[in-house]
């Protein structure tokens, strides 16, 4: 059975920006083992060169549409008043979102 060491789970939590308790790290360590064992069954599925090449183009058959470089229509659902867009932020300063010091925080936790 595949597994990840406890330290790896703790590291993943840090990368994923999740402050976990010891108990959560323990539980996720156990569950990751069974999940990884399950998804690793994929290694037994033969995938030929055609599939390898085609997968790079994507199976949805969709390419992104690029909008014309013009202002949106006045009634577009995407038009947002900046103050409405900012209304959900816990710390604001006028038309800006305020955040804690970036560098000090990163040094502590990187």
């Amino acid at each position: 059975m595949s597994t990840l060491p406890r330290d790896d789970i703790a590291h993943l939590a840090k990368l994923a920006r999740l402050t976990l308790t010891e108990e959560q790290v323990e539980r996720y360590t156990q569950q990751f083992g069974s999940i990884l064992t399950f998804v690793e069954t994929l290694t037994t599925v033969p995938t030929d060169q055609a599939a390898k090449e085609a997968s790079k183009r994507g199976v949805t058959g969709i390419s992104n549409h690029v909008s014309a470089d013009e202002p949106r229509a006045a009634d577009s659902l995407a038009n947002l008043d900046p103050m409405v867009a900012l209304a959900g932020a816990p710390l604001r300063n006028g038309r800006f979102i305020e955040v804690r010091a970036v560098l000090a925080g990163e040094e502590e936790s990187a």
Partner: protein, 497 residues
């Protein structure tokens, strides 16, 4: 019309409103009364927008009186799964992260329904951020199955499916990333459909896995589902992945009259959908449904889809990878739950604001998937997991395309099981994931699928899954409409006392 208002289909409501047999306010109030009575027992709605619904219903009645009805949907009450952004009611994804959040803009899906005059009753329960198969990961608690209150309603669109089974709306809108419309529809004995990937705009639909997410209707009949599909599908400038292809009209999906409405239609059956783990009671009903479709004139042939059993493992790499990216927006800085709200003044690093807000606001299943996605995308694991999963996805899609060059539709179970007991599997994530083993291949292949009720096993509903090739929703709806014309499983409703 003598049937109670809460039992009517979209078509019947439209006809009743047009004939002046009742008003939109009356049917809206009938649903609001029933929601007030049953929601404490079932936990279907996470918020009921009573004032908004009555205002929309009143406006609809006034339009109609003035001879300006907007058509079939004008005045018809419905609900949205709690993942569509609306400016006039909260959207929470059934997560603590968005508790009480009101979006600053409207989803295209809501905009289209509003513009067609439909009446929004409220938002219905989902697994947190749509991640789950039973609504047990919802921060608002589980939605009980109207057929057996000790059982789950399925998920993640358990609220939408239960709302139709318990007659708490005329129709509902859900999302299907890996079976999330079809599986709960199967568990609750209602009709639920997932269109081809890219048919319906995802603008304003809170994302889970963007290459898989697709909006679909939950309804009383396949014809109703086709009407909703026709309304919602189509290119949207605000979703770069919506398709330009012409949306088929409902008129072209109606099977001809007579006892062989499916004459000339080729139906495929793949034994890969009947492997180990499919309950005998479920398999029996699906085989009977296939025989019924054959009696309606279709030719049944065997097809081979050897990669289909592996779609689920590919899904549990691709979906968490996209989840880990999509969920990064919930950072405690711009909107949603934030420790900063209680914390102002105290010293904290930016990292702590991120990580503590996310740890508090995001529940266990979502955390697990974010971490799994972070793992499979990390340097050194990317090729072994993510690239391999994308290749398997391509093989699945190719095999579907080959199968649909021979047949018009495939028939299969939606789920190996009927609704399971609440709490039965909560500590076993892999067992939970396997509930979607027969539903996920359609998402991995990007093809459309529908669940239609095909009988009861030990008193619990079972859904027949009808799958079609990319963009061929018309064949899927034609088969489903003909099947429902010949059967009455979709007309049976539970007694919810």
């Amino acid at each position: 019309m003598s049937a109670p208002l809460i039992t009517l289909t979209i078509e019947e409501v439209a006809a009743g409103l047009k004939a002046g047999e009742f008003t939109s306010v009356e049917i809206t109030q009938a649903y609001l009364n029933r929601i007030a009575e049953l929601n404490p027992k079932l936990n279907v709605y996470v918020n009921v927008s009573t004032e908004l619904a009555l205002a929309q219903a009143k406006a609809s009645d006034e339009r109609r009186a003035a001879g300006k009805s907007l058509g079939v949907f004008d005045g018809v009450p419905y609900n949205l799964k709690d993942v569509y952004a609306t400016t006039d009611s909260p959207t929470t994804a059934s997560s603590r992260m968005l508790d009480g959040w009101v979006a600053p803009y409207n989803a295209t899906v809501y905009h289209k329904l509003k513009s067609a005059g439909a009446v929004l009753l409220g938002k219905t329960n989902t697994d947190e951020f749509t991640m789950g198969v039973s609504t047990e990961t919802s921060w608002q608690g589980v939605t009980r199955n109207p057929w057996d209150l000790e059982r789950v309603s399925g998920g993640s669109s358990g609220g939408p499916a239960a709302s139709i089974a318990a007659q708490l709306a005329t129709f509902s809108i859900g999302t299907d990333t890996g079976g999330s419309v079809r599986q709960p529809s199967s568990f609750c004995g209602v009709t639920g459909m997932k269109p081809t990937y890219g048919r319906v705009s995802r603008w304003g639909e809170l994302p889970m896995a963007s290459s898989l997410d697709q909006t679909g209707p939950v309804t009383r009949t396949a014809k109703d589902a086709a009407l909703v599909f026709e309304l919602l599908a189509g290119r949207d400038e605000l979703d770069a992945t919506t398709l330009d292809d012409k949306v088929p009209s409902v008129d072209g999906m109606i099977p001809p009259a007579g006892d062989k409405p499916l004459a000339g239609m080729k139906v495929g059956v793949a034994e890969e959908y009947f492997g180990d783990g499919v309950q005998p009671g479920v398999e029996k009903l699906i085989r009977e449904a296939i025989a019924q479709v054959e009696r309606l004139g279709a030719t049944v042939t065997k097809v081979s889809l050897p990669a289909v059993p592996h779609a689920l493992a590919a899904y549990y790499i691709i979906a968490p990878a996209e989840v880990s990216s999509n969920m990064a927006r919930y950072d405690g800085i711009r909107f949603g739950h934030s420790v900063e709200r209680e914390n102002s003044g105290e010293k904290a690093s930016l990292y702590d604001i991120y990580a503590k807000s996310r740890a508090e606001g995001i529940g266990t299943e979502v955390q697990r998937r974010i971490m799994l996605g972070t793992h499979v995308l990390s340097a050194g694991h990317y090729d072994a997991y993510y690239r391999k999963a994308e290749e398997v996805r391509q093989v699945v899609a190719t095999q579907f395309a080959e199968a649909f060059s021979e047949v018009d539709v495939l028939l299969a179970p939606v789920s190996p099981n009927t609704a399971f007991k609440i709490g039965e599997q909560v500590n076993d994530p892999v067992a939970m994931y396997k509930e979607d083993v027969l539903a996920v291949p359609a998402n991995i292949g990007g093809i459309p699928g529908i669940s239609v009720p095909c009988g009861f096993s030990n008193g619990l509903p079972v859904g027949l899954q009808i799958l079609a090739g990319r963009l061929n929703e018309a064949a899927l709806f034609k088969t489903a409409i003909a099947y429902q014309a010949a059967t009455d499983f979709h007309k049976q409703y539970p007694e919810v006392a």
